[in-house]
Symmetry: D2
Subunit: 365 residues, 4 copies
């Protein structure tokens, strides 16, 4: 299925960085979900660059809803949003036709598409396409919120600096994150992180980080083992975000050094409702949600576009060359990727919930 | 698709721990792949318990090839292998009908299947079902080997002890692992790891670990962005293995603290062949293989079956109870899971390769 | 997906005519559907040959439920049924290894599987495999019946003789069909049809027919345009039945010569319930059910196994040869295929309903 | 999958008749297929109305290729084409919000989408959306032609008048059809058919017909039994075309009255190439192509938009009303649908071929 994801709620992504437009189609949204264009715009603005630490490319993201919305609500038929490409400077990328950038998809796209791919600005593999995911993801986030399911992501680590962990009042933490342009829980660490990013930028380099996501309000019983587990589907979706190189749930890799007695989450019941006393398993047992908050962490590698000299090859002449990138590039994307993580998480949960509870579950009826 | 995985080569899993049999169907294997029943048996034996550190349940795994093999080779039509269940003692699990074991799927299955699930021995969610994946995975491993693609997994960490990293002669490392019952590269660490496992067992507890997998010989250009990336599909497959709570590629979470200049893999060309000078990205750029070895790490949580007293709930009476497991359980599964990781990796790569190069690619013609 | 059908309720088929067993896995049945083994056996007996007009092969069809049923009800996890192959006489088919039978899949399987296919008795392409579809289809039929959805098929035409059309009391017609071994509405035509079949048999020839299916009780709003329409999915499923060469809904090909004014079904409302005054469209408008009975007709070609001399080729020597079949073959399959049509229709409707109303809809909760 | 079709080459359809635009995305086209915009335009013009017998709505169909084409060739990444909607007069449809048109999807969409659907002009269910299928189908047709696979469809019957059958020089027949605006083989019948259409129009009524399609050059061995047979997939695709109510292959329903001896196609070999002496089975045995021409017939019902008074219901007041349509409507669509049939056939064959021979098969490498 390649550029489509999801069985019941399916997102299909298309476009190239320097083509006419990028866009996404979502098929399977229940009829009657309110579509708030201001919220879509606000989510897109979270994805855009912030001041000095972002790319200089101006992306106003003037999205256009092509189909699937009528009188402010989803129709239940495919919702298509496109975002025209503007302010593209293809000339910047001319040398990249033959010389792949280390860490990017240039070389692997050349292997797979035999040179027919649109190389300009990374073409179909540009991070630019995540804007379309964010636009349709905003509708998914709205649909979930109507059911009391709230998603939020913070920059748990960036440039070697850690944010504080999620607190006991998780919903309040999530609410706060969702209104922050730079998503940290401890506002003091923002300055330090930005400083590290700026420092890397000054050196022509870039930094990575870790994004931590929590989801509250997801009922138990969601996930389709053996293969379409909550973890399997979410990781599948999250690894599609460029630069994500690791995904873990709950204590994740930290459990490798634990004991069963320190990793099991004991059950308890109160007022007829079952919960676990700890949440080492991140809300998922056996691939199915248990009603506790989902906890997900994604490793985001440093953006591969750096301005230091790098070794590459000329694929036509088959000779070694040295490459120095020009143009505008982010010294970090972790702070921009957080809203993409929220979007892919939301789309995946909509898919699971529609499969579990039927096509109308998330809608107006 | 729930219990099926893969688009071109699709594995479907069925069975319960204490039912008649477990089994798997693989649809999409090319015609003409040699099926070596000794190799299947040998892979199954790697999955079984080893001496004192394994479960006491005797699983002879006398598998039966029901369909899809004719005169020693795959026919190209669905291959079904079943493994009858023997030596089951369902009485051991009677108390678990109402009282879920912490860390297991008992409670979440109850949420999802409303009590209709077969609870005996974990039913459909038992690790026992991985035997069927290993049986059909053995055919996938054979098919890949014919194309020069070799997979191997070592216990990179267990009970707090680390194995050495993969060395320069990767193929030799993999060959060695694939003939080891306890898959470590540094034979000296085996004793220490086993000791830790035994110690945990003596305390009624269990340990976790990290499995590291390498794949050599995979050509560049394999992976289907945006969504069916090599990383997305592999993680999806690997998270279906019970106890896997984290998956990373290349330097994975380690890249979060890196710089672009330390994480990018520079390209070089020699004798008309392009490669990278380092492999921080684990053989994948932009979700597509680049011809370098795939490097994957899975976090395996400590087996949740422990003999210490744990808190749980009686789901019928809705009251807190304390639970002490009886019966036979593994104090670690990381050393058994390695062959399941190999199997799921092989099945996923067969799927990607069949989609890329056609239905006959991995077969006799 | 090849040997799997359905998105929410998925049937996977495996086996060869002369292998160990044939079988099917259904994934996605809701938990809590009663599984009546007597009804499965009775459906299987409807598929078997009847007296002189059937094949001489004795197929007792002693099916075995391998998984997915616990305490008489579906668990919600994959249900696997296998039917061991008995009374196979592979020697009968030896000449067919190189010489394809006209009208069968022998030659096309040879094109596709390069000679690796199991040729014995048609191998994977034998009509024998429909027994597995009937076995799992019986569970689907039971699940639908609990919701008031009833399916039945009659032999609308066979050997040039027509049965009467469905009458006004459709449910009574369906009930009657479902208890008949030879499914005709007008019991007088049975004798004539059987006579035609016997006459063809006596001449070493075979006859075809038309099966007409009706479904009552299906609610409106079921079907997923544009592509997963009720008609598209049902036809997809029905064309998988060997010998089906045409599928039509409502007046079907008869509408080609009609006028809009004679083909449109006018709406009417009575007691708050909308219905159509006629049913030319067979219960489907725009690919979505409208609450009226589904009406489906399948063209069944004469069974291609005849005892007359036929021209064929020797695929190894690449020369023309003449072929005269030996062994046991049906002079007609239309009367046996009716229960396969019911089964595939039921499985397809379960799939559509589970997608529409959720995974639990057809089950015990 | 609803609005997506195909496993390897997947078309996703979106849009509403009176929304901003309609469009389609095709994912899985091989890289390097030449994209001829003139051919796309010419195919779109075949779909448009012809003179008096078409709708009065002017549809210039100024399509826009949004993605997936670079320097005149497919890139291998998703190809999106949109066609803006112009000349829409939504006012014409106001009464239809509550009063469904007999024979249309209005009522069933209301059942399924609970009134949230865009009702204007049939919304998502308008035949208008077939323009997007024709646009992307043109690329599929081009890709197949490069491999020597040619598709063509004629109006085998319309308004009770039959065209002549395909002749011995099939390729010449197809070539002729593909350059005809009104696709008949016998040019004399055109006048008679048009007369019948005009006569129906004059009476405020409409006519139906039968479309017959042939495909030459398709190699043997294409089709994926049991379920993704050539017939199953093609019928699935063709039933998605509005107004198609029957699909048959080869002699289809005509075989129901035949004998095995008159329906089997005997094999013969000449110059090392196997073929059948007749083609009753329409190029498919056991669901797999046999190298002979595919022969497909679709029943097309009379367009349901007629100007006679019809009975319907007011869905809000739940009372019977009489309905008389206003506006512009086709008295026949069979002559316009032929290019939609070609397009869906082409997309389906691309899908099957890509699965069989790999992702690059139909492209430039």
């Amino acid at each position: 299925m390649k550029n489509s994801f999801g069985t019941h709620v399916t997102v299909t992504l298309f476009g190239e960085s320097h083509g006419d437009a990028i866009g996404a189609v979502v098929d399977g949204f229940a009829p009657g979900i309110p579509v708030d264009t201001d919220f879509i715009a606000s989510q897109l603005s979270l994805r855009r660059a912030v001041g000095k630490i972002g790319t200089a490319r101006r992306e106003a993201d003037p999205f256009q809803i092509i189909s699937g919305v009528f009188q402010g609500k989803t129709t239940g038929t495919p919702l298509c949003i496109i975002i025209p490409n503007e302010d593209t400077r293809s000339g910047d990328y001319d040398q990249l036709r033959r010389i792949p950038r280390p860490g990017h998809a240039d070389y692997t796209a050349w292997c797979k598409y035999h040179g027919y791919q649109d190389h300009r600005g990374g073409g179909h593999f540009s991070g630019r396409l995540t804007a379309a995911l964010v636009a349709v993801g905003a509708v998914a986030i709205s649909a979930l919120r109507e059911k009391g399911i709230v998603i939020g992501t913070h920059i748990a680590r960036c440039g070697g600096i850690s944010d504080r962990a999620f607190g006991d009042d998780l919903l309040s933490d999530l609410t706060r994150l969702n209104s922050s342009a730079f998503a940290v829980l401890d506002s003091d660490v923002k300055r330090a992180m930005v400083q590290r990013i700026e420092q890397a930028a000054a050196e022509g380099d870039s930094v990575g980080g870790v994004l931590e996501t929590a989801v509250t309000g997801l009922p138990g019983g969601v996930g389709e083992p053996w293969f379409d587990t909550a973890e399997g589907l979410l990781s599948h979706a999250l690894f599609s975000i460029p630069a994500v190189k690791g995904v873990e749930f709950g204590d994740g890799f930290g459990m490798a050094d634990g004991r069963g007695s320190t990793c099991n989450d004991a059950f308890s019941v109160e007022n007829g409702s079952v919960f676990t006393l700890t949440n080492h398993n991140g809300g998922v047992n056996g691939g199915i949600s248990n009603g506790m908050p989902l906890l997900i962490r994604c490793a985001v590698k440093p953006t591969p576009s750096i301005f230091k000299e790098q070794q590459s090859v000329d694929l036509e002449r088959m000779e070694n060359v040295s490459l120095r990138l020009q143009g505008r590039h982010d010294p970090a994307i972790v702070h921009r990727a957080r809203v993409v993580v929220d979007s892919m998480t939301a789309l995946t949960l909509c898919d699971l919930l529609a499969g579990r509870f039927g096509a109308d579950y998330l809608g107006g009826k």
